[in-house]
């Protein structure tokens, strides 16, 4: 028998549940293994060759996962995209030059206009390895497609992890979403799909499916606690909450720790370029983390974190390599160090230089979020003729009807006690709507100032 491109342990997990679909239908590992073989046969019948780049339109579901593993075992390069991504779908298909498209929900496999041609694809083909393309949602310009060797990505899961019931929450087309699928299914856990990411629906899913792990983002945790839904459900099965993808504000972290006294809170650090890295948090209330030294080397240059990891991507499809000559990836994240621990301060690109003095948006956001009537806050820089840049704050408030001048006065007074004067926002904008992008990241993209 010919060795498989990737070894999957699914058949060995037998009749244990693998995936609980959003509608509650459960698929066992045995079924998962059988269906993967069926879909592989389908791919071969249709003439999908190893090395083909395939757009996989899907979200967490048994079908999406079956396609994902079937495509990989056939040596394809999978380009995941969640349904309803609009123009992003065309961009991804175009940049990745996909020659096939799978729409998991509709059970569709059709050919596309691309040629699956790229010098980096050729490197993968040489190694007979399956691929994964993850697009980073950069704040400027075209999204960058990071090509991964799936065997490298999967290598860190080879040591048998704990089998836990995990919610598929982070986006399926993000590196963190793929990470959720891999660490859950490769260790024999249960991947639980949620019908939506609405706080009440998520809480209901956590309760009824007895979910043990919730991998999520700080802004969603903030929204979850603000919604008050946590108290309406029995979430006692929840053992681990992981958060990452953006900065966690210290006051939010403390509220989460209080709201989930029995859960362990773990900060994750990852990026499209090197995958989700394993890390340990110093404690539930702490943002200090340590990385697993076996998984990566890290160093700090000029205050910025650099990483060298075996799980790094091969390169971008549509941008120059970001690696230094000796293989270090410059994350652009400013960090503080304490022994072997580090704390992430924020992306250097988010830094606001007010008359030459540095302001980290997260520091101001943290301070704003300690004010009880501030539900959420996003801080960003805007060009200013006098100072080069000034600090703007968009505030979601419980008091949208109050006089804005009174709100501004109260905020400034509060902040003056905590921050240096130049860090106090010069402009406040109030809203009663949420401040998250559809990808659950704080939206720091500045609204254009009206001329």
């Amino acid at each position: 028998m010919v060795a498989e491109r990737i070894e999957l342990p699914f058949a060995g997990f037998g009749l244990r549940p693998a995936i609980v679909a959003a509608d509650g239908v459960t698929v066992s590992y045995q079924e998962l293994a059988t269906k993967i073989d069926m879909y592989r046969a389908r791919l071969r019948d249709r003439g999908v060759r190893p090395g083909s780049a395939v757009l996989l339109v899907g979200d967490y579901s048994p079908e999406s996962c079956i396609w994902l593993f079937a495509l990989w075992q056939e040596g394809c390069i999978v380009v995941p995209v969640v349904p309803g991504s609009g123009l992003a779908e065309d961009t991804y298909a175009d940049v990745a030059d996909v020659s096939w498209i799978v729409v998991a929900r509709d059970d569709v496999l059709r050919s596309a206009a691309g040629q699956s041609a790229h010098p980096l694809y050729a490197e993968l083909a040489q190694a007979n390895a399956p691929g994964l393309v993850i697009f980073s949602s950069g704040t400027t310009g075209q999204p960058k497609g990071a090509l991964h060797d799936v065997r490298r990505l999967m290598s860190k899961f080879s040591s048998s992890g704990k089998a836990l019931r995990t919610l598929g929450f982070l986006l399926f087309d993000h590196i963190s979403g793929i990470d959720t699928v891999l660490y859950t299914l490769l260790s024999g856990g249960v991947l639980v799909c949620t019908p939506s990411r609405n706080p009440a629906v998520v809480c209901r899913t956590l309760e009824t499916r007895k979910v043990e792990v919730l991998p999520t983002a700080p802004s969603f945790l903030n929204m979850l606690i603000m919604s008050g839904e946590v108290e309406n459900y029995d979430l006692s099965h929840l053992k681990i909450i992981t958060y990452g993808g953006e900065m966690m504000a210290q006051p939010v972290l403390e509220r989460v720790a209080t709201a989930f006294p029995n859960a362990k809170l773990v900060q994750k650090y990852g990026a499209s370029e090197f995958g989700a890295l394993r890390s340990r948090s110093e404690g539930n209330n702490s943002r200090w983390i340590t990385f697993d030294k076996r998984e990566l080397d890290w160093r700090v240059r000029d205050g910025l974190l650099e990483i060298r990891s075996g799980t790094s991507m091969l390169g971008y499809l549509n941008a120059p390599s970001p690696f230094t000559e000796d293989g270090w990836y410059q994350t652009g994240d400013r960090v503080e160090i304490k022994g072997d621990k580090l704390r992430i301060l924020g992306r250097d690109s988010d830094l606001i230089s007010v008359g030459g003095q540095k302001v980290y948006p997260t520091e101001v956001e943290d301070a704003l979020k300690t004010i009880p009537w501030v539900l959420d806050a996003v801080v960003y820089g805007q060009p200013h003729p006098m100072l080069g840049a000034c600090v703007h704050a968009r505030i979601q408030t419980k008091k949208p009807t109050a006089e804005q001048a009174d709100l501004r006065r109260s905020l400034r007074k509060n902040l003056a006690a905590r921050l240096e004067t130049y860090k106090i926002p010069q402009r406040f904008e109030f809203t009663d709507a949420g401040l998250l992008t559809d990808r659950f990241k704080a939206d720091r993209s500045a609204t254009e100032r009206k001329a």
Binding site: H384, P385, M386, L387, C390, A405, R409, R412, T421
Partner: protein, 104 residues
């Protein structure tokens, strides 16, 4: 937009100064006198402080008139007679900007 009178412009500018005084240390409070030096010789205000006053004034004027005036610009900064010299100058500049806005 509706006509912005000097009096209402000054009122907005003063409200802005009050807003900023609210969080400045007691000894550092800015004068509400329309002819006191706001930014320049003898003023306690640094550039960050000035931007706070100017942007608070923009916000106050927007609250009062519903129109967003820009009081900090290269053009304003390069004027021979600085619009930031006193509250009177700033209010006059706001009136001028509102007038320019009306002719668009």
């Amino acid at each position: 937009m509706k006509h912005l009178s000097y009096e209402s412009a000054l009122e907005s500018v003063r409200a802005a100064v009050r807003e900023i005084n609210d969080f400045r240390a007691e000894g550092d409070a800015l004068s509400l006198d329309e002819d006191a030096v706001l930014f320049g010789d003898g003023s306690a205000l640094d550039s960050v402080g000035l931007v706070q006053v100017v942007m608070a004034a923009e916000a106050q004027l927007a609250d009062a008139t519903g129109v967003e005036l820009v009081l900090a610009s290269e053009a304003a900064m390069s004027r021979k007679r600085s619009p930031y010299r006193s509250l009177r100058n700033l209010a006059e500049y706001a009136v001028e900007m509102a007038g320019a806005d009306a002719t668009v």
